[in-house]
């Protein structure tokens, strides 16, 4: 299935697996038009783990759901953009074509394993479904693969659990089942949408560990969507920070944490209390409220909460520009130099 000749090559020499260009998604609700995603572009290199960070309503989930055509239409609408994968634009595929991609080549795991599993079907049926559908396995082959998958995700004595129902599993175990379903057809990309948010910290550690191990064993490409800057630091190689439907900063993981550039990223990192030091600084909270997306902002969407905002920010939305290497930020102000950026 894999491309022998990469059609696109990213900066680090690895082939680009997914290229999203200028994605715009809106929701037409009775309250008005919600500008959920406002022109998002990014590349995903083969084998990398990309963290997508932002608070609720920043568009991180909608971006990924749009790419897989998983948003409800109506009220949602993908207004424009491309998502190039394997030479095809995912946003232009027919329902049947995208169904072939979903679950088999790009699969997704979600935040709440209780609502994403079907309560009236056995674990075996739910994992085997995609094997029978996409890989045309017969029942016996599917059963063997299901057992193999359950063992792979760390469910002991898998054979005994084949006929169990989701309610017999704990939250962490259900998330393991979700991962088994997602990995059933050896996908090239795993999209994890806040998969550990509903879990306790010791269970979260188990799941993060599991995904890390599977990623390395299976050479998988992972997109990990989260609001937790700690999980991203543990798992991701590159990070995208989103705010109000825009990517506002993008950098390799170490660079982002060592040298955050956008005032929102700086604020987000400053608002986290430290687990590892005794010193107790007052938290630098970001003032104001999260954005309301019913109106498209005229200037920078963060300007109203930004302590560095100046005149230009009010009427011109800064583009995402390189500030050195692969580190990009969308801000008119150079926080380090204390003066406006030349752009």
């Amino acid at each position: 299935m894999k491309e022998t000749k990469p059609i696109m090559v990213s900066g680090n020499g690895r082939s680009t697996l997914l290229k999203v260009e200028d994605l715009v998604t809106r929701f037409y609700t009775p309250e008005g038009v919600v500008h959920a995603v406002n022109g998002v572009s990014f590349d995903l290199a083969e084998g990398e783990t990309l963290g997508v960070v932002g608070e609720s309503g920043c568009g991180k989930s909608v971006t990924m759901l749009s790419i897989l055509q998983l948003i409800a239409r109506p009220p949602g609408k993908i207004e424009r953009g491309h998502a190039w994968f394997d030479g095809k634009d995912l946003l232009n595929l027919s329902t049947d074509q995208i169904r072939d991609v979903r679950g088999s080549r790009i699969s997704m795991i979600f935040q709440d394993p209780m609502t994403s599993l079907n309560p009236v079907l056995t674990i075996e049926r739910q994992i085997a479904e995609s094997l029978i559908l996409h890989l045309r396995m017969n029942k016996q082959q599917a059963r063997e693969r299901v057992i193999e998958l359950l063992e792979m995700v760390g469910i002991p004595e898998a054979e005994k659990h084949l006929n169990d129902y989701p309610h017999q599993f704990s939250g962490g175990m259900r998330q393991r089942v979700m991962i088994a379903i997602a990995l059933a057809c050896n996908p090239q990309i795993l999209v994890a949408d806040e998969p550990t948010t509903a879990l306790d910290v010791t269970i979260q550690a188990q799941i993060v560990d599991l995904v890390k191990r599977l990623r390395d064993d299976l050479n998988m490409t992972v997109i990990w969507i989260t609001h937790d800057l700690g999980v991203v630091a543990r798992l991701a190689q590159r990070v995208i920070v989103m705010y109000a439907g825009y990517i506002i900063e993008e950098a390799p993981v170490k660079e982002l944490y060592a040298n955050p550039t956008h005032p929102y990223t700086i604020g987000l990192l400053g608002s986290l209390p430290s687990l590892t030091t005794d010193e107790r600084k007052r938290l630098t909270a970001i003032p104001g409220l999260p954005p309301v997306l019913l109106e498209k902002p005229v200037g920078c969407p963060f300007a109203v909460r930004c302590t560095y905002a100046f005149e230009r920010c009010q009427h011109e939305n800064p583009p995402l520009l390189s500030i050195g290497g692969t580190h990009r930020a969308a801000c008119w102000w150079d926080v380090q130099e204390g003066r406006p950026r030349n752009a």
Binding site: A233, L269, P273, L275, T276
Partner: protein, 325 residues
């Protein structure tokens, strides 16, 4: 009886919830939500109570404020045993203990205006009425940094962070001494969490409040608390000053818990040693014999299944329940 400087003394507190089954609804067992916990909260401090979901931290908080009746044990608030206090007197004491809840969407009555929500405690307790109560409500909204002009609006018009401020204003209405904060920030976005933490810290400084801070986020608890107790499956595993607990955790559960929290710093994350606990927390209906943590403890020995570990002070003000310490 409480010593000097102790505002709240929890003494061998037990709370079981009966489990009924069958046609005749016979009691077949009990959820051991809180099983013999003891700690002191001192005047003006923030006492952190941490643990994972189902460990009993919320039940402990609710039993202390007498929303649940304790199964056994005592709760001394300023020398008065709350488990023995009757209706009228309890109402008097409630003025001095208030609570802030986790879910700012469920804990505010959607049919009441903000002014009415904040002044309700004053009216119930006969502290103020009518115009006077509303004036005080406006003052309280100011204190929690909300525009008093919003007083006539309803909860749905506010964001999560603003609602939590309203909940805090309501808790302050009676000038309490102790506020039980039950996961006050876990429903909020990261950037808003810091605002509420800062507000709680400011209020404590201004009004000399004492907090019992119940949370699952270990970083937040480290930031805000002076002393911390770690709960697991209904018991306290370890209790110490914030410095001792985080720098020198003794109980294997505390060690595992601290190592499991991801740190927002990739340079540190790379080097950190992680203790991954196997399996899930056992059911509180049928907790393990001996030490409750032994089923997941990487160091468990035979004795851990046989004997309940003693709750002892291993160094001044550092308590731990483990056979191996």
């Amino acid at each position: 009886m409480p010593e000097n400087n102790v505002l709240l003394k929890v003494d061998h507190l037990v709370k079981h919830f009966p489990v009924y089954r069958g046609v005749f609804q016979r009691q077949v067992g009990a959820v051991h939500a809180v099983d013999d916990i003891s700690f002191d909260v001192r005047h003006g401090e923030t006492f952190g109570l941490v643990g994972e979901s189902g460990c009993g931290k919320t039940t402990a908080g609710r039993t202390i404020i007498q929303l649940y009746k304790a199964t056994a044990g005592h709760i001394y608030f300023d020398d008065v045993d709350l488990t023995k206090v009757k209706g009228g007197e309890m109402r008097h004491i409630r003025r001095r203990i208030q609570m802030i809840f986790q879910d700012p969407y469920a804990s505010l009555n959607p049919r009441m205006s903000i002014a009415d929500i904040v002044s309700e405690p004053m009216i119930i307790h006969g502290v103020a009425r009518g115009k006077q109560a509303h004036e005080r409500a406006a003052e309280l909204l100011n204190i929690v940094q909300l525009n008093p002009g919003f007083a006539n609006r309803f909860p749905h018009e506010f964001s999560g962070g603003q609602r939590q401020r309203i909940g805090i204003a309501r808790a302050l209405a009676l000038n309490p001494e102790l506020i039980i904060c039950d996961e006050p920030i876990s429903a909020l976005d990261v950037s808003i969490q810091a605002q509420i933490i800062n507000l709680l810290e400011d209020l404590q400084k201004q009004m000399g409040l004492t907090y019992l801070f119940i949370a699952h986020d270990l970083s937040v608890v480290r930031h805000i608390s002076s002393r911390v107790a770690v709960m697991y499956l209904g018991i306290i595993a370890e209790l110490a000053s914030v410095k001792d607990l985080y720098n020198n955790p003794l109980h294997p559960y505390t060690q595992a818990l601290l190592s499991a929290v991801p740190v927002p710093n990739p340079a540190i994350e790379e080097k950190r040693q992680r203790i991954i606990l196997e399996g899930d927390v056992p059911s509180p209906v049928n907790p393990p014999s001996g030490c409750r943590f032994r089923t997941r403890c990487p160091l468990a020995k035979e004795i851990c299944a046989e004997l309940v570990p003693e709750w002892r002070e291993v160094s001044p003000d550092h308590w731990v329940a483990c056979h191996l310490v």
